[in-house]
């Protein structure tokens, strides 16, 4: 009851603030008036009478202060009004101090908030499917060949589906790259050919129309598509009447039967940005081919099955199949992986590291603010003592100090949230190009992220404000007011707290610096890597000839002949060629091969990258020819053509003799050995960080993928030619989709986007951390010196040397620094497993990185201590003692 009344009266006091204030004013004014009259009656002059009344009454404001405390509001009120007012007044006077705190905090809060927004989306928010945590991908795997997560051959999939009991259903899907024509400019879109069961599996109904049924999974009935919301909006204007209309895809007519809802995207990995879904129809030949491992299999776990139970059931089923079909399935098992572990898989380590480091930064900022609060606490001990002497209670002083730190951190949060808005976008670019993450394009600051920054601010405000506040409020009036300076706050506990702060701050900066050093080193190695080819002045165009017009290989061949001669006649073009996989784009393709006369050995396969090339590819790319010759137009006329290999392959197989004239059997033509006519230099075309592997080049029409990339060497800026090239292509065929016309340099630049942004973010994190550390050490030492100013003065007066002083002052600080370096080293070593995947040509334990960081940290500590100490040395000992 008492509590209820108390709360009521406090809230009442808060709400009726003005009335209480008014009443107290009135009451006191009445009192003064009465006293004045009495004084006049005693014979004083009116002005004298009033002055005396006021003098006698004392400090009206102070009495009202007490009154307010008693009458209502209390703690809440102190925080909301007095603290606020006093803090604001303080900030006005101590602009530098307030700014230092706010800048430090906003840096920490912005970095961690921006990263939290991404973390929340990628690691916390469930995927937009019904009970997404029960969705899995089931793969084939071959342990002997160390092939994991392989897509599933259709007959194997059908066997699995018939035998399994762990899943409510299984559905297969295959990527489908479709060219849309007769809708403005021709354009390519990714689609998924999938089983009808997929949609019920995901538990997401269409927004409009319907999804396809199993009766449509038959050749002839399968020309229906469900379209994505984005495609519907961007290409079809978002009109409701699209259901029943038709699309021309790859030259065939498809009926639109449904539109999926806005946030639906499937798959969330592998092929992202899917625009269409159509029924998957296995061609009859494929249904018996157990090595055609192309479709990917999605499934939903039954409610009573765990992932490992499903895995063991699949193991049994796979072993069964292995025994029945040893030729094709010997060594092949099954593997079950959850959706959530696949989503944003490659990005996770980066994200985790960056988030952890941003939290380090936030903690550093907090430690700095705690330092500043502590230092200020000392500086204003007299002010606080006066407040206490005037009757401010301890709780009230704590409240005041806490309000200050809360206000500072909230201001930091506001600035930080604004900065975070700008920071989120670049962070999204860190995501590897080859594996975009669904749903991150429109990522921005959201409510949750804002809540995060506010929570971060409040927690830091309270936690880091508490210790200085308690210390600051623990006031021994006599000691302080007697002007002899050494105060109640200098207990052994405070000393430990301060040393802890130094250690924590050093540990954080050490962690940040050593990880940054590793990443910077790694990035340097990366950009210094010799690719083996020139990226300058090359224009690339992705082309796919997948319509019915190009069904026969010779038509594609003629197309390229025509195109190459057209391009070569363009002014500014040096040479033209085409390659099956655009270098550095993340696309690559490999196959097994064996030497002529060697028997196929499924346990020890020789694997080589396969590149299909046409035109002057080596000349265009400046890849050196080491031996033999390049392809000539005559090679294209052979049925199986000769091949060219790279040095890696030649040296792996024939280390001591020439590879020329040797013959290989490539999986593409299992029965016909092909002859090596040339050896070329190694190139890193799969990715800068991936070392060159054995590679085989084959001439175009012999294997003629419908998708190729045009590579054109130009005399100047390749983009100057882009328009002319596009015109020439459309002169041959107006229906070709030209997706990316970009210089190869851009492709290369994008291919290191992730390490580059990691590098840039860490460089900025590290600089901020260094700045915070300098500032932190500086303020701790300044604090200690202020506190011991008189002692220092006496020491100097008695002839102490600078070194002695330095040693006395910084001894405990240096213990903290050493402790911090040690903890920080351990801390960054703890992340080594996460870090390893992000580093190129450097181990996460690389000692120089740690030594450099430790050196830098110590330098910061020494310099940060040196300047304040030097300043004190210049102080006149007498004034220091007196003051």
């Amino acid at each position: 009851m008492f509590w209820l009344r108390l709360i009521y009266s406090r809230l009442y006091g808060l709400l009726r603030k003005n009335r209480i204030e008014q009443e107290m004013d009135d009451e006191m004014r009445f009192h003064l008036l009465m006293r004045t009259r009495e004084n006049i009656e005693r014979g004083m002059r009116p002005d004298e009478a009033e002055r005396e009344a006021r003098r006698r009454f004392g400090n009206v404001g102070y009495i009202k202060d007490l009154g307010r405390d008693i009458k209502g509001g209390g703690f809440i009120e102190i925080l909301l009004r007095d603290g606020l007012r006093q803090s604001l007044r303080m900030f006005k006077h101590e602009k530098q101090y307030a700014a230092a705190c706010i800048v430090a905090l906003s840096l920490g809060i912005s970095a961690s908030t921006a990263l939290f927004a991404v973390v929340y989306k990628v690691l916390i928010l469930p995927l937009p499917y019904k009970d997404a945590e029960r969705l899995v991908v089931v793969w084939e795997k071959n342990i002997k060949q160390s092939q994991n997560r392989v897509n599933v051959a259709p007959p194997t999939f059908l066997d699995w589906r018939a035998q399994q009991r762990a899943f409510t259903d299984m559905a297969a899907g295959e990527p489908w790259l479709a060219t849309l024509t007769e809708q403005g400019e021709p354009q390519e879109y990714w689609g998924l050919s999938s089983a009808a069961a997929l949609f019920s599996l995901l538990g997401v109904p269409p927004l409009l129309g319907r999804t396809f049924t199993s009766s449509e999974e038959v050749s002839g009935k399968d020309q229906v598509v469900v379209i994505s919301y984005d495609f519907w909006q961007s290409r079809l204007g978002g009109k409701n009447e699209v259901i029943g209309t038709h699309l021309k895809l790859d030259g065939a007519t498809y009926e639109i039967i449904g539109v999926m809802p806005r946030n639906f995207q499937f798959p969330p990995f592998w092929i992202t940005r899917t625009a269409f879904w159509r029924p998957l129809v296995f061609k009859p030949g494929i249904l018996s081919n157990r090595t055609y491992r192309r479709p990917r299999v999605f499934a939903r776990l039954k409610p009573d099955y765990t992932l490992s139970q499903a895995q063991s059931e699949m193991d049994v089923i796979a072993r069964n199949i292995e025994q029945r079909f040893p030729d094709s399935n010997s060594g092949w098992g099954a593997e079950v992986t959850s959706f959530s572990s696949l989503y944003a898989e490659e990005f996770r380590p980066t994200l985790k590291i960056l988030f952890a480091l941003s939290v380090c930064l936030l903690l550093m900022a907090c430690a700095n603010v705690a330092n500043l609060l502590l230092a200020r606490g000392t500086a204003r001990q007299k002010e606080l003592a006066v407040r206490a002497a005037l009757g401010a209670s301890r709780g009230r002083l704590i409240g005041l100090l806490l309000t200050e730190s809360l206000l500072l951190s909230l201001a930091g949060a506001v600035v930080g949230a604004v900065l975070a808005f700008w920071l989120v976008k670049p962070i999204v670019y860190i995501i590897p190009r080859a594996n975009p993450i669904v749903g991150l394009d429109d990522l921005g600051m959201n409510m949750t992220a804002l809540m995060f920054s506010i929570a971060a601010a409040v927690i830091t405000g309270i936690v880091f404000g508490m210790a200085p506040a308690i210390a600051g409020s623990k006031i021994n009036l006599q000691e302080i007011l007697q002007e002899n300076g050494r105060s109640g706050a200098t207990g052994a506990r405070m000393k430990k707290y301060r040393m802890g702060l130094v250690a924590a701050e050093t540990a954080l900066v050490m962690t940040l610096l050593s990880i940054s050093a590793l990443v910077i080193h790694s990035y340097w190695s990366l950009i210094k890597t010799d690719l083996g080819f020139q990226t300058r002045n090359i224009l690339t165009v992705r082309l796919s000839l997948n319509t019915m017009d190009y069904a026969q290989p010779y038509k594609r061949y003629t197309f390229y002949r025509d195109l190459f001669s057209r391009i070569k006649s363009l002014p500014g073009a040096v040479s033209a060629s085409a390659v099956s996989d655009l270098p550095l784009s993340g696309d690559w393709f490999d196959m097994s091969f064996r030497l002529e006369g060697e028997l196929p050995d499924p346990t020890r396969k020789r694997i080589a990258d396969i590149r299909i090339i046409d035109g002057d590819y080596f000349k265009t790319m400046s890849i050196p020819l080491r031996e033999g010759r390049v392809f000539t137009p005559q090679d294209n006329n052979y049925m199986r053509g000769p091949i060219i290999v790279n040095e890696a392959l030649a040296q792996q197989i024939w280390p001591n003799e020439s590879a020329l004239g040797k013959r290989l059997v490539v999986e593409t033509f299992p029965n016909y050995p092909v002859e090596i006519v040339g050896v070329v230099g190694n190139i890193r075309d799969r990715g800068v960080q991936l070392p060159p592997r054995p590679a085989i080049y084959q001439p175009y029409p012999i294997i003629s993928p419908s998708q190729m990339s045009l590579m054109i060497r130009t005399e100047q800026n390749p983009l100057l030619l882009a328009r002319a090239v596009r015109e020439q292509i459309w002169k041959i065929d107006r229906n070709l989709a030209l997706q990316d016309i970009v210089p190869l340099e851009t492709v290369a630049w994008k291919s290191v986007a992730q390490p580059r942004f990691m590098f840039l973010i860490l460089v900025s994190f590290a600089s901020v951390a260094v700045a915070l550390a300098c500032h932190g050490v500086y303020s701790v030492v300044t604090y200690v010196l202020t506190e011991r100013r008189q002692e220092m003065g006496i020491r100097i007066a008695l002839g102490a040397q600078r070194n002695d002083i330095l040693r006395t002052v910084v001894k405990s600080e240096f213990i903290g620094v050493i402790l911090g370096v040690f903890i920080g080293t351990v801390g960054s070593l703890a992340t080594r497993n996460l870090l390893r995947s992000l580093l190129y040509q450097v181990e996460p334990t690389y000692p120089p990185a740690f030594m450099m960081s430790a050196l830098l940290v110590s330098t910061i500590a020494i310099l940060g201590a040196y300047f304040p100490v030097r300043r004190v040395m210049k102080v006149d000992p007498l004034s220091a003692i007196h003051n």
Binding site: E27, F30, H31, M34, N59, Y62, I63, L66, G67
Partner: protein, 110 residues
């Protein structure tokens, strides 16, 4: 004014206020005056202690306040003893007598 300030024992001010009010409602100024009269000008209540004490006692529920008109026709806030206040006064008077008697005895014995 040459009167030496007689310091009040902690807690006695509350009792004096209650006692002053037991004779009838008064405003703050009047309370100070009445205590002075009753103590024959020995006890002078500081305004700085009087008002906080009033607010404190009011929140304890021993007195209530309402606005009225003073003897010289000014608007003033009058404090009145509540039933709980009367009881409290009794308790404090008994305590005080015991305490004063004890202190007196100590001072007499030497």
């Amino acid at each position: 004014m040459p009167t030496p300030d007689t310091k009040l024992l902690q807690g006695t001010l509350d009792m004096l206020i209650l006692k002053a009010l037991s004779l009838g409602p008064l405003h703050g100024y009047g309370i100070g005056q009445r205590i002075m009269q009753m103590s024959e000008a020995v006890l002078r209540v500081e305004e700085g202690s009087l008002y906080p004490a009033l607010y404190r006692i009011e929140r304890q529920g021993w007195i209530t306040a309402e606005w009225g008109v003073s003897e010289n026709n000014l608007r003033a806030k009058f404090y009145k003893l509540t039933r709980a206040g009367r009881k409290q006064l009794q308790v404090e008077e008994e305590n005080w007598e015991r305490l004063a008697g004890a202190v007196f005895k100590v001072m007499q014995s030497t």
